[in-house]
């Protein structure tokens, strides 16, 4: 008996809460972000969600450095039309849920005008629905084409895996290979890659005959490499990001697999060269021109942009930029260009991005369209090898180049 009175009070309170909640909800109106009229005063806010820690750190850290550098440069120039540009960087810890959490915060709490990121495919895919439903432009720095396929609000600056694979298939066809052994990243970056090799390779009679997966934070690759060795394909492809891609390369050489090996565009940084060490010698990978900036012919249309960036980045951080820093550079420049041209109205920014034509960036020359929110073709990539621990432009660029 004695217990029922307080219980009843609690029940009453719960009911009261329900009621109050309903009231509060109806008062707060539409709430949330949305593509309404833009606020034309105060600083312009750009949010960035990057893989600063975790498996994608070797991508996210240089990206952060590039963005910070560019933001401070812009600051010195006085912002956009006198409006300050505020850069808010969030770490997603290389996780999909971390990325969703971060973009939710940027949109709901900081009310940013545009979002950059994430560094890798998985987190970018997790962010996409938030950007779409809040109708806020987002520029991903990651590779997988699924990030932008059929998207209205999401764009990306890294070369699509499709164009990368086209470039790789061209090279394989030139070399006369017909069978591929694939060891791919088990996360978003590697998803769908096997199918794409088969699809694009079909025309040349090239197909994947063995496929293995590895986690982005894997350190032991014995099992995968043993299986690749057994498959005895004409050429093997390791599709991942450092450090895993570097360790896989090491295991590949250690287990004495004779076939040549290609890596993806996910390896364009010093971390890869450090972890792979000697084992990297002779591999072939399609990368952006940034890593071989010093070897580019003078008439290369990207040479000026790249050299200027390399110079500024090196002066600031005492090390050269990776291709990922380049993706961040492109993302930032596209964003700033749009904000400068059309202001912070989100719809206008989106439309502007979609209409970009022949914008020269670090990773290539961008031409967007409603069907292509990536804007790069396989010409954005050059074939690169490793010689004496450094990137080297492959003299024979094959039919694709």
């Amino acid at each position: 008996m004695r217990r029922t009175a307080p219980a009843r009070a609690a029940a009453l309170l719960a009911a009261l809460t329900l009621g109050l909640a309903a009231c509060a909800e109806s008062e707060s109106g539409g709430g949330g972000g949305g593509g309404g009229a833009a606020d034309e005063s105060g600083p312009i806010k750009i949010g960035a969600v990057l893989d600063i820690t975790g498996a994608g750190a070797s991508l996210g850290v240089p990206e952060r450095q590039a963005l910070e550098l560019l933001a401070s440069q812009l600051q010195e120039e006085g912002g956009i039309d006198g409006r300050e540009v505020e850069l808010i960087i969030e770490d997603n810890q290389s996780t999909e849920d971390g990325a969703a959490k971060a973009i939710n915060k940027l949109v709901n709490e900081d009310e940013v005008d545009l979002v950059l990121g994430a560094s890798r495919t998985g987190p970018s895919l997790a962010m996409r629905p938030v950007a779409e439903s809040n109708q806020i432009p987002m520029i991903s720095l990651a590779a997988n084409q699924a990030i932008v396929d059929g998207s209205e609000w999401v764009f990306k600056t890294a070369q699509n895996d499709r164009v990368v694979i086209e470039r790789m298939i061209d090279y394989m066809a030139d070399q006369g290979h017909t069978t591929i052994g694939l060891a791919r990243d088990a996360s978003g970056f590697g998803e769908g890659v096997q199918e794409m090799f088969d699809e694009i390779g079909a025309a040349e009679g090239i197909s994947v005959v063995a496929a293995e997966k590895f986690a982005p934070d894997a350190t032991d690759f014995t099992a995968q490499m043993v299986n690749l060795r057994n498959a005895a394909a004409d050429i093997n492809v390791i599709w991942g990001i450092p450090p895993a891609a570097g360790l896989a390369q090491q295991a590949y050489v250690q287990l004495g697999i004779a076939a040549p090996v290609m890596q993806s565009h996910g390896i364009g940084n010093q971390v890869f060269l450090d972890t792979a060490g000697d084992s990297a010698e002779g591999l072939v990978a399609p990368l952006g021109r940034l890593v071989v900036a010093d070897q580019l012919p003078e008439d290369d249309p990207q040479a000026d942009v790249i050299n200027e960036f390399v110079e500024a980045y090196t002066a600031e951080y005492d090390q050269g930029p990776s291709t990922f820093a380049g993706h961040a550079y492109d993302g930032w420049q596209l964003a700033i260009d749009a904000l400068r041209e059309v202001g912070t109205d989100k719809q206008a920014v989106r439309d502007h991005l979609e209409g970009l034509e022949d914008v020269v960036g670090i990773s290539g020359t961008f031409t967007m369209s409603p069907d292509d929110h990536s804007g790069l073709t396989k010409e954005a990539l050059v074939l690169v090898t490793v010689e004496n621990g450094a990137w080297k432009l492959l003299p024979d660029q094959g039919t694709g180049g």
Partner: protein, 634 residues
């Protein structure tokens, strides 16, 4: 099955009222919170509410069932994944999907719990840890579940044409869910089930002897706890819009554990308070530490979690709830010293009429308990050897013998906790040897213990109410939903109080049982056993520690129970008292029954006389301890 050392002592029944105050206070705070907090703080609050639900489930499991799970995130993930799949692939509405998600999770918990809950303590904790990791690995291997990327694009919930997409709205959407969760949890804690599980934590063997099916209840609470996790999971899926294998990762389970422990295990509101504290700390440290340590990136807030978890376990094992009760007690003490009822001198009624006669009791003289060839060997020692005994309804049978004769072992084999090496025990037609004590209880028999097995955290009334376990029926669901259970609770309490009056314990009903003098604690145990309304009552040395007057009262009580049709078997040292009371006497020596007959026959049996000569009653105690009830179980 030694008296289990407790991880965390459940809250005493006296402090449960604090829960109601806590929940009420929490309700007010939760409603006011979004009106005063900044958006970023509300955002933290949303996660606190979501995680708090999962932590609440864990807190129930720890507080009620005394079990720790390190895999709570596994169920959280199952709920979230199911929700994600149903909403994004099959276009289910959020509400319908969440009902299915919770059902799926509970089924999974049942399947996982059935094998795992046979494990105890740290083994269970570690097995659940394994479960959580396995869920994560399977999810990342399943293409259907989106492999490592998981499932994304789960929209914010939309109800009555309102999209709950800001943190304030989502917070207010969650508040009623959490409050209902709290109320249900509190009802369960206060219910017949909660009471029984509290008793299990105090003395498993005693609770089982009163008919509590420990395993079954543990499984039920495990499943309930998973249900809380899955509700949290569905809320998480909608808020974040993405579910990936991280939802099942070990650090998240640790976070739930931290929330439950910080808030105070077993207190229902504690987990939610703990969740706010942990999430607040999480957010605060994420901002603070990079300021203090330049260049710090990543999950640096963990340092606070680590220190907090350790410090609480060392200094404040009861969590914030302990802090709160201490403060309240201090305040109350200042207000004026309260004194408990004394009631030591309550007299047993001098009535001599039959007691607890009830419909459907076996007619006096029908065989009730049949023991055949009961044998127990411990290694090379035969403690009991081929023991036979038949007990009829309505008679008092005494089992006597020197110390170490195997009386208690025989008792333990008959009532369940010890598995016999050979022989059969049939109670009212049910074979019970080697079965758990609750089977014996279900067959209509129960027992008391030589070394008391009082439920230490319960009041006298609470102890006796556990005895009504089999005479009441409300299950977990009924308890959670209050209404039918509430009426039954009143009936249980009324009959327990009636029984206490009968035994002269009425004035002590609301005192903690352990605060009573030893002799009266024995009476509480007997009252508790009688609450079951057994057909057969086994009493292990009921006279020990009682004064002369108390012994006479007890003897009178037993005669009245016999008159009511109950059969009673007692092990007793006080041979004279036994011979005066019993209808028949069995004598054990070195595990062998050396005599059986009326008191007169036994008194003059030469073998019995020989056995009792040369026994030093003084060194009885040391042997008795070794031979005593539950402590000697395997």
């Amino acid at each position: 099955m030694a008296r289990r050392r407790l991880l965390l002592t459940g809250p005493s029944r006296r402090s449960r009222r604090g829960d109601v105050v806590g929940i009420a206070l929490l309700a007010v705070l939760l409603v006011v919170f979004p009106l005063v907090a900044t958006p970023s703080v509300i955002n933290v609050g949303v996660y606190a509410l979501i995680y708090g639900l999962a932590a609440l489930g864990l807190s129930l499991l720890m507080g009620l069932a005394g079990q720790v799970s390190l895999g709570q995130a596994g169920f959280f993930a199952i709920g979230a994944y199911t929700q994600g799949v149903l909403v994004t692939r099959y276009d289910f509405g959020g509400l319908a999907a969440s009902v299915i998600a919770v059902a799926v999770t509970m089924t999974a918990a049942l399947l996982v719990g059935l094998p795992l809950l046979r494990l105890r303590g740290h083994y269970l904790a570690l097995a659940t840890l394994g479960f959580g990791v396995i869920v994560a690995v399977l999810a990342s291997e399943s293409d259907f579940l989106g492999a490592t990327s998981g499932i994304y694009g789960i929209a914010k919930p939309e109800m009555n044409n309102r999209l709950y997409n800001s943190s304030t709205e989502y917070f207010l959407l969650l508040v009623p869910v959490v409050l209902i969760g709290l109320l249900l949890a509190r009802n369960v804690v206060e219910s017949r089930i909660g009471r029984a599980l509290g008793a299990v934590n105090d003395s498993e063997v005693a609770a089982e002897s009163l008919g509590v099916d420990t395993f079954r209840l543990r499984v039920q609470v495990f499943v309930l706890s998973a249900a809380y996790a899955s509700v949290a999971g569905t809320a998480f899926a909608h808020w974040l819009g993405v579910v990936n294998p991280n939802a099942s990762n070990f650090p998240l389970s640790v976070k739930f554990l931290l929330m439950a422990v910080l808030g105070g295990v077993g207190t229902v509101y504690g987990a939610v308070v703990g969740a706010f504290a942990v999430e607040g700390l999480d957010d605060g440290l994420r901002r603070l530490i990079p300021e203090l340590v330049p260049g710090a990136v990543g999950e640096v807030q963990l340092i606070g979690f680590g220190i907090l978890l350790t410090a609480i376990m060392i200094f404040l094992p009861g969590g914030l709830h302990q802090l709160w009760t201490t403060v309240r007690r201090r305040l109350a003490a200042r207000a004026g010293p309260g004194d408990g009822p004394s009631g030591a001198e309550a007299k047993a009624p001098p009535d001599e009429g039959p007691l607890l006669a009830r419909e459907g009791r076996p007619a006096p003289g029908t065989p009730l308990l049949e023991v055949r060839g009961l044998t127990k060997r411990f290694g090379g020692v035969t403690a009991v050897d081929g023991f036979d005994l038949t007990v009829d309804a309505g008679e008092i049978v005494a089992l006597i013998g020197p110390n170490g004769a195997g009386k208690t072992t025989a008792f333990n084999m008959i009532s369940g906790p010890v598995v016999p090496t050979a022989g059969t025990v049939t109670m009212a037609g049910t074979r019970v040897e080697g079965r758990k004590p609750h089977v014996f209880a279900r067959a209509g028999a129960t027992r008391t213990f030589q070394n008391l097995q009082i439920f230490t955290t319960a009041t006298v009334l609470g102890n006796v109410m556990v005895g009504r376990h089999l005479r009441s029926t409300s299950g977990l669901l009924g308890a959670a939903l209050v209404l039918p259970a509430r009426r039954e609770e009143r009936a249980v309490e009324a009959s327990a109080r009636e029984l206490l009056e009968l035994l002269g314990l009425g004035a002590d009903a609301d005192r903690l049982a352990v605060d009573l003098p030893f002799g009266r604690q024995r009476l509480v145990e007997i009252a508790r056993a009688l609450a079951l309304e057994p057909d057969l009552l086994l009493l292990d040395e009921p006279m020990a520690g009682l004064s002369g007057a108390e012994r006479r009262d007890l003897a009178r009580l037993l005669r009245r129970l016999r008159a009511g049709g109950m059969a009673i078997v007692l092990v007793e040292h006080d041979v004279e008292a036994v011979l005066a009371l019993a209808d028949r006497v069995a004598v054990l020596e070195d595990g062998v029954r050396i005599a059986l007959g009326t008191p007169d026959e036994v008194r003059h049996d030469p073998a019995v006389v020989a056995a009792y000569l040369g026994v030093e009653p003084e060194d009885a105690d040391a042997v008795a301890v070794a031979d005593s009830g539950p402590a000697g179980l395997p």
